[in-house]
Symmetry: C2
Subunit: 115 residues, 2 copies
């Protein structure tokens, strides 16, 4: 007797747990709109750099996001190869756009556009 469906409800619960944190949910929404680097997140949230790194690591460990080095920065974005990528997208469609936050950053000249 195997438990395919149990495995998959576990996976979904894991994803929802990751997204069930306001900081991570916002980060994921932002990443769904734009690639983003760690220091931008640090500027966006009133939170220390290690706290941001730890959130990103949790999501990367579960394969939800991927990283790309560009010069001295590490950019994070949604991982389109995640087995539940389309589910993740469905969920974050319900989240209001966070474009405004990025625009604020840009207005402050803090948006990183290295490439």
């Amino acid at each position: 007797m195997h438990h395919l469906s149990d495995q998959s409800i576990d996976t979904i619960a894991d994803i929802l747990k990751l997204l069930g944190d306001k900081t991570r949910l916002t980060m994921v929404k932002i990443m769904s709109e734009h690639e983003c680097c760690v220091c931008e997140f640090v500027d966006l949230f009133e939170m220390s750099q290690p706290a941001i790194s730890q959130h990103l690591r949790k999501m990367k460990d579960k394969g939800l996001i991927k990283e790309t080095r560009k010069g001295q920065w590490v950019f994070y974005s949604l991982n389109p190869n995640h087995p539940n990528y389309s589910f993740v997208q469905t969920v974050i469609q319900a989240v209001p756009s966070q474009q405004g936050k990025l625009n604020n950053l840009k207005a402050q000249g803090k948006r990183i556009t290295c490439c």
Copy 2:
């Protein structure tokens, strides 16, 4: 300056946090398929009755589910009047059916069908 979108991302994060627990996610999926009473959940999960009650209370407190007394039992079901009801439905569509668990209960004669 107001933060309408912040309020709504909070709400969504709250819902996802509730659903990000395997027990609750399974319960919600079951409730989306059938009304269910507390003692059935107790039989379905290897967990004490208070633990089940506490999960249900959390979800009821957030308006995700509603209760109906029927005789000596309290039945719980999804609350279609929740402002994010359709979002919740979208999410749990991705969860595999838990009908099998209910069928097992029925086979054991433990399914409550009072009315």
